[in-house]
């Protein structure tokens, strides 16, 4: 309970001015109403300005209440008559007011007078009230006076400088005077809180991330590739050896190629976007032109390289005519040759994927099925380091903005972000999936990445958070095998077992299309509000809430229980053994088995 209630606070305590006198000063109409009621009839014709006679009468009947001490010359002038004339200088220094619009918020509140209008709903008269007013004196003519009195009398009147309130052109914005004195806005925090709450709710209301599903493949989609130059073009390889090229804006398939027998294991585009490479289960590497063949021509690859072993993955260099394949070993190929320029091995195992570093382009990362991630240097033609994790890593992805950071999608439901210079501890362990993570791709901004999992969902993780910010799933989406973040960082594509490629928004509640500046401002403001109040329990709860399929939900519960049990056991072990004998291993270090030099 708050005591005293805000409406009972003394005016000296709270700086809000009592409404009566303030308004009275600024709005002549109010004054006259408050004044003599006998003038009511005579005043009806006038709208905004008080006639001299009226003001004179009012002046006599009741002086205008002023919050400011009246100047000595001014005070006796009321209704006195002859001696004080209009020569009196305007009391600019007394009446100087500041009408927030052009004012910096930093300015001390002390300079602001409390006699400002705080709202703008009182119509034109009050809008004008925000301007500079001057008490001036006017000599009323006999002919001018409605009362018809022939006496010469002095009248006080408000005058103001039209420069301050008249727009120069019609297109200019109307100035809305506003007082930013924080003392006048006691409820700013609660108001913003409510706004944040509403923004959060609306975000959830508008969160409809699913955009389109591209169907046409006759088997599960095994790999995806982005076109480096065109945002709308996407390539996909399926498990039946078919490669399709899609147009995202039209959401249809442009071209279909029967590229391989068996799976298309890997697909990548050349850095210039003129051709692309595929590898398949038929031990071949094929290069294809991006544009289709002419009418009547057959679909034929530009080059075909026959290998001795199966290639399981391929990636193209970011700048040069070099590509890398993996299988039994990592091979680096010159596009012009049919033999690899160099092959790098470290141990004997099948390597499942290889990725070029997009920034320091001579670096490669690969992951093999004996649970390790190996880094290579192409220039020196040697492997660099190997890190062995608890379980097998399916694929890795380099951060496109941070040269030494990569993220590994692991079979143990987690993703690990590593700094390649310090492999013994991952920078971050991202956990939320409830089954093996099959693919990962970074947003081109390098701030987030998306991961595809065997648990039939894709999740978006911020790079520096261990928990996902978003989870996407649909009823029909099966195990998601591959995922890509488009190069404008707005969309996400995923290919799954049930032969479809789905297109999602990266920001679930984002409005698509061109935004007006006001929309943009509102969006930014809402975003900031959500950020500001994100720790408040109500807002947090709403922002975090997601609907999950029952399988995932129950899996999460189950795993939580298992994790808790494990934790408890560890705690008990520590508790019941000699202090120091059971080492405390952090979550980050727990999953790294070894780093091999």
């Amino acid at each position: 309970m708050q005591w005293p209630p805000p409406w009972r606070r003394s005016p000296l305590v709270s700086a809000t001015p009592p409404p009566g006198p303030t308004r009275g000063l600024l709005c002549p109409r109010r004054v006259s109403e408050a004044g003599d009621s006998s003038t009511e009839g005579a005043r009806t014709g006038h709208r905004h300005y008080v006639t001299p006679a009226e003001s004179a009468m009012e002046g006599r009947s009741q002086p205008l209440p002023s919050l400011r001490p009246a100047s000595p010359t001014n005070a006796p002038a009321h209704g006195r008559g002859s001696d004080c004339t209009a020569k009196e200088p305007p009391l600019a220094n007394v009446c100087r007011q500041n009408y927030g619009a052009a004012q910096d918020p930093v300015e001390p509140a002390g300079r602001r007078s409390a006699s400002h209008v705080t709202g703008s709903s009182l119509g034109k008269a009050e809008v004008a009230c925000g301007r500079r007013w001057r008490w001036a004196e006017l000599l009323a003519d006999t002919s001018w006076s409605p009362a018809g009195r022939a006496t010469e009398m002095k009248v006080k009147m408000l005058s103001r400088n039209p420069d301050n309130y008249v727009r120069e052109t019609k297109l200019d914005l109307q100035r809305v005077p506003r007082n930013y004195d924080p003392a006048l806005h006691p409820f700013e925090v609660p108001r913003e809180y409510i706004r944040a709450l509403n923004a959060t709710k609306l975000e959830r209301v508008f969160a409809k991330p699913f955009l389109a599903s591209l169907d046409g493949h006759r088997d599960g989609v095994n790999c995806l590739a982005k076109h480096p130059e065109k945002l709308a073009t996407v390539l996909s390889g399926a498990c039946d050896g078919e490669v399709r090229i899609w147009n995202l804006t039209q959401r249809n398939c442009i071209r279909t190629i029967q590229a391989h027998e068996g799976f298309v294991r890997g697909i990548c585009t050349r850095f210039c976007g003129t051709s692309f490479f595929t590898v398949g289960d038929d031990k071949t590497v094929k290069q294809w032109k991006m544009d289709g063949p002419g009418y009547g021509d057959e679909e034929e690859p530009l080059h075909t390289i026959l290998g001795k072993t199966v290639y399981t993955g391929i990636d193209h260099h970011w700048k040069e005519a070099v590509f890398a394949t993996c299988g039994q070993q990592v091979d680096i190929w010159d596009e012009q040759r049919t033999n690899p320029i160099c092959s790098m091995t470290w141990g004997f195992d099948s390597i499942s994927s290889v990725k070029f570093n997009p920034i320091e382009t001579f670096l490669l990362g690969s992951c093999a099925s004996d649970r390790n991630i190996v880094l290579y240097d192409m220039r020196q033609a040697t492997p660099l380091k190997k890190v062995i994790l608890d379980m097998r890593t399916n694929t890795i992805c380099w951060n496109p903005m941070e040269a030494f950071i990569f993220t590994a999608a692991n079979e143990d439901y987690n993703l690990y972000t590593f700094d390649m210079r310090a492999l013994d501890t991952p920078v971050m362990v991202h956990m939320d999936h409830v089954s093996a993570v099959l693919d990962v791709d970074y947003s081109p901004t390098g701030k987030e990445f998306v991961s595809a999992s065997f648990d039939k969902s894709i999740r978006i993780f911020p790079v520096d958070k261990s928990r996902s910010r978003e989870v996407y799933h649909t009823k029909r989406m099966q195990h998601v095998i591959c995922v890509k973040w488009t190069s404008d960082s707005k969309y996400i594509m995923c290919g799954s077992d049930e032969m479809n490629i789905r297109l999602w928004k990266a920001n679930a509640s984002e409005k698509l299309g061109v935004l007006t500046s006001r929309e943009k401002a509102a969006k930014d403001y809402n975003q900031k509000l959500k950020e500001k109040f994100q720790h408040y329990p109500h807002i947090k709860r709403i922002a975090r809430h997601r609907h999950l399929p029952k399988s995932i939900y129950s899996q999460i519960q189950e795993q939580r229980i298992m994790k808790e049990a494990r934790r408890r056991k560890e705690v008990n072990r520590i508790k019941h053994s000699k202090p120091g004998s059971v080492p405390l291993v952090s979550e980050k270090k727990k999953h790294v088995v070894a780093v091999v030099k």
């Binding site: 930013y180 108001r191 920034i359 001579f362 941070e402 210079r421 081109p444 404008d488």
Partner: protein
């Protein structure tokens, strides 16, 4: 065997032949010699080949020119037997003119065998390590960029901006034609003036200078220079200013400060580097000697003489003289030897003793105790007694004090504090009650509640005491011998009724008031007897009968038991009982503890805190009076009492506090359950203190409370992307780094697994490690 011997003889023969050859050949270079031989042989072969072309005798055994061990078709050795280095050396040794050869040979001899190469895995590991280090080094250049991007307020993608290409004006002009009449006119004007249109605007010199230093560099450089100059001028000005200061005091202070500093430094030096300190000492000694010789600081100088004249009238001058003399003394004094310093210490002690105020001595006279601690306690106790408002409290206190055993020092002390505390508070309350009595209305209730509070507190206190004593009793009974227990038994019994009595005493209001009056009365009267009584208690040793008793008891009980299990006994002021054992040690200990915890009076602090909290949580009256409203205003005028009363809104009585009956608990009632659902419970991560978080919440970001510009600034999104634009990975050029000119491909083709010399060095180092 014979064959063997034959072979040996043959070998010897061939050696002899060779030896005969050598001196003749050594002038020729070896290669030349060989070349000749080879040529001959080839020629021979050629001849043979040609002759064998006839067909008849194709395969013909090569003709041997030298003696050989075995003549075989397959093992042809035209070069003969192996040479041993020693064979070559022998003739060299004999002749002195073969110095160069000797040298060469010795060099050959000194060379050791090449070590075995490392195994393949090892080599690969080393390669990898070297390569990794190199790569990590390359990558580390991205660290600042990454850090900057992570901390950036806003990132705008795509990163590479199409910079407005600033083409030189001549290029622009050359490709541009005047179309509108205005443009044509302007062009005409320009051409009339022969403005250099196509000529380069910058001379080669200017261009070169531009290229020599980038703008930022130049700016930085200039800023540095400016700063240096500013600093210099600042120091100069400072020095000048200081020099100008006429105040002698100032200079004195400065000098003193310097001296102090030097002393400190010297101390430091002595600790760190004794040798240097010694040198310093020597210097000082030298200065002293100089001083002695020069007599600079004696009162013989011009200045000193003038001062001496002034000194009669001027205090400052006198002081200055004094100072000079002291300085002289200081400088001319011979340095103390270590043994002397000890003596001096003793001396200082004496001085200290002298310095002890007379009060102490007086007390000592009174108490006859040798221990200064105890003396102090005596004085403090007496003082306390004097200030004590309730005389009844005293005997009890004393009793506790006496009865305390060493082991149970702490709890009893606490009791004491509690009791004293309670007394104080009671008196306070009484006073307030008295004052309240003066007020006509509303005092009755508060009084009642006050008395109730007193009662409740009393109960709690008494309970505590009881518990303490009981526990003590138990302990004693378990430890002590039977007589002790017997001795003990009466004491608590006596005490308990006393303690129980006390709450009853103040139960009625009348009595309370009476008590208050009594206090006022007794305050004047009582202190003296109390003091006397105390003193009599405190000086047991003076009495002739007391030691005897003590001795008797000591015979019965051994000392240690006595220390641990001393029975509490009660004495009242009215009936002075037998003097108890007063152990010096015990008292000392108690005193020590008391002194150690002199500052922290925890209970009092707590109670005070609670009182404050209660006060703060009470709803406050609202005063709505407007000074000057409806009456004359001005400085010094106050609204009338009537008006004040009218506009004063009384606060409603809040619900009773939850901790009303819990004396040692403060329950915060500010927490609002309904609001709690909307409040953050834990301080969020990046914040280190709650006020930081609160401040971020308190500053509004909306346009309702901020100017448009501030609003825009406050709501800038963290990441801005352009719709429909491809964001490429960051490049070295984007952030101002020079990207490597060599392509990865060319590098890989040029060095397929070749190691540079630097690598070799590193490799060697690694292998050594």
């Amino acid at each position: 065997m014979t064959a063997n011997r034959l072979a040996e003889s043959l070998l010897a023969l061939s050696q002899q032949e060779e030896l005969a050859d050598l001196p003749k050949d050594y002038l020729l270079s070896e290669s030349e010699d060989e070349g000749d031989n080879d040529g001959e042989r080839k020629h021979q072969k050629l001849l043979e080949a040609i002759s064998s072309l006839d067909g008849k005798n194709r395969r013909k055994l090569a003709e041997r020119s030298e003696a050989s061990l075995k003549v075989s078709e397959f093992n042809v050795s035209s070069e003969g037997e192996k040479l041993v280095l020693a064979d070559l050396l022998e003739p060299v040794k004999t002749s002195s003119s073969l110095a160069t050869v000797k040298k060469q040979l010795s060099r050959v001899k000194s060379k050791k065998t090449v070590e075995l190469p490392l195994n393949k895995e090892e080599i690969e590991r080393i390669h990898r390590e070297v390569a990794f280090n190199k790569t990590a080094q390359v990558l580390s250049k991205w660290d600042p960029v990454v850090l900057k991007n992570r901390q950036a307020e806003q990132l705008v993608f795509p990163l590479e901006k199409e910079e407005p290409a600033i083409a030189p004006i001549e290029h622009v002009l050359s490709g541009w034609k005047a179309r509108t009449p205005l443009e044509q006119e302007i062009f005409n004007l320009l051409h009339k003036n022969k403005q250099p249109v196509t000529d380069p605007l910058l001379t080669p010199v200017e261009k070169a200078s531009l290229r020599a230093m980038s703008l930022e560099e130049a700016k930085m450089r200039r800023a540095e220079l400016q700063r240096a100059r500013a600093l210099q001028s600042y120091y100069e000005a400072k020095a000048r200013r200081e020099k100008k200061i006429k105040s002698k005091k100032y200079h004195k202070v400065v000098k003193k400060g310097k001296a102090k500093k030097a002393l400190k430094e010297f101390e430091q030096l002595r600790k760190v580097n004794p040798a240097a300190a010694l040198e310093e000492l020597e210097k000082i000694e030298k200065a002293r000697m100089m001083e002695r010789m020069s007599l600079k600081h004696q009162n013989s100088g011009k200045w000193a003489k003038s001062k001496a004249i002034m000194a009669k009238y001027d205090l400052e001058a006198r002081q200055a003289m004094q100072e000079q003399l002291s300085k002289n003394k200081e400088l001319t004094q011979k340095l103390q030897v270590a043994s002397e310093s000890e003596e001096e210490e003793g001396g200082t002690e004496d001085v200290e003793e002298l310095l002890v105020p007379d009060v102490v001595n007086e007390v000592q006279m009174n108490a006859d105790g040798p221990n200064p601690w105890m003396l102090r306690s005596c004085t403090s106790d007496t003082k306390e007694a004097a200030t004590q408002e309730d005389p009844e409290q005293l005997p009890e206190l004393e009793a506790h004090g006496v009865s305390e055993s060493e082991g149970e020092e702490r709890p009893v002390a606490e009791e004491e504090i509690l009791l004293r505390e309670f007394e104080e508070r009671r008196s306070l309350r009484k006073r307030s009650e008295l004052s309240q009595d003066a007020e006509p209305a509303g005092s009755q209730e508060t009084k009642d509640s006050g008395s109730q509070e007193v009662l409740s507190e009393l109960r709690v206190l008494s309970q505590k005491l009881k518990e303490n004593h009981q526990s003590r009793k138990q302990k004693a009974s378990s430890e002590g011998t039977i007589p002790q227990v017997q001795r003990e038994e009466p004491a608590p019994e006596e005490e308990e009724p006393l303690l129980l009595q006390r709450p009853e005493r103040v139960q009625t209001l009348e009595e309370l008031e009476e008590l208050g009056k009594e206090e006022c009365f007794q305050n004047k009267e009582l202190p003296r007897p109390v003091l006397e009584g105390q003193q009599s208690e405190r000086t047991p040793n003076n009495r002739p009968d007391a030691p005897k008793e003590k001795k008797k008891k000591e015979q019965m009980i051994d000392l240690q038991n006595l220390l641990t299990t001393q029975s509490p006994s009660v004495k009242s002021l009215a009936v002075p009982t037998i003097e108890e054992l007063e152990d010096e040690e015990e008292r000392n200990h108690r005193q020590m503890i008391k002194e150690a915890f002199a500052g922290d009076d925890v209970i009092r602090d707590f109670l005070k805190e609670k009182r404050e909290a209660v006060e703060a949580s009470k709803p406050k009256d609202v005063d709505l009076t407007l000074p000057g409203w409806g009456e004359w205003g001005g400085v010094g005028l106050k609204p009338s009492a009537k008006k004040r009363r009218r506009f004063l809104i009384k606060a409603p009585e809040g619900p009773p506090r939850k901790d009303k009956n819990l004396p040692n608990v403060i329950i915060n009632e500010k927490r609002n359950i309904h609001a709690a659902a909307h409040q953050v419970r834990v301080l969020p991560y990046p914040f280190t203190h709650h006020w930081q978080f609160e401040r971020t919440i308190q500053t509004p970001i909306g346009s309702t409370w901020n100017t448009q510009r501030a609003f825009q600034k406050l709501t800038t999104p963290k990441v801005v992307t352009k719709p429909g634009h491809i964001i490429n990975p960051i490049k070295a050029e984007d952030v101002g780094y020079r990207s490597s000119s060599r392509s990865d491909l060319s590098v890989i083709q040029r060095n397929p697994k070749r190691i540079t010399t630097r690598h070799k060095k590193q490799l060697k180092k690694c292998s050594v490690d």
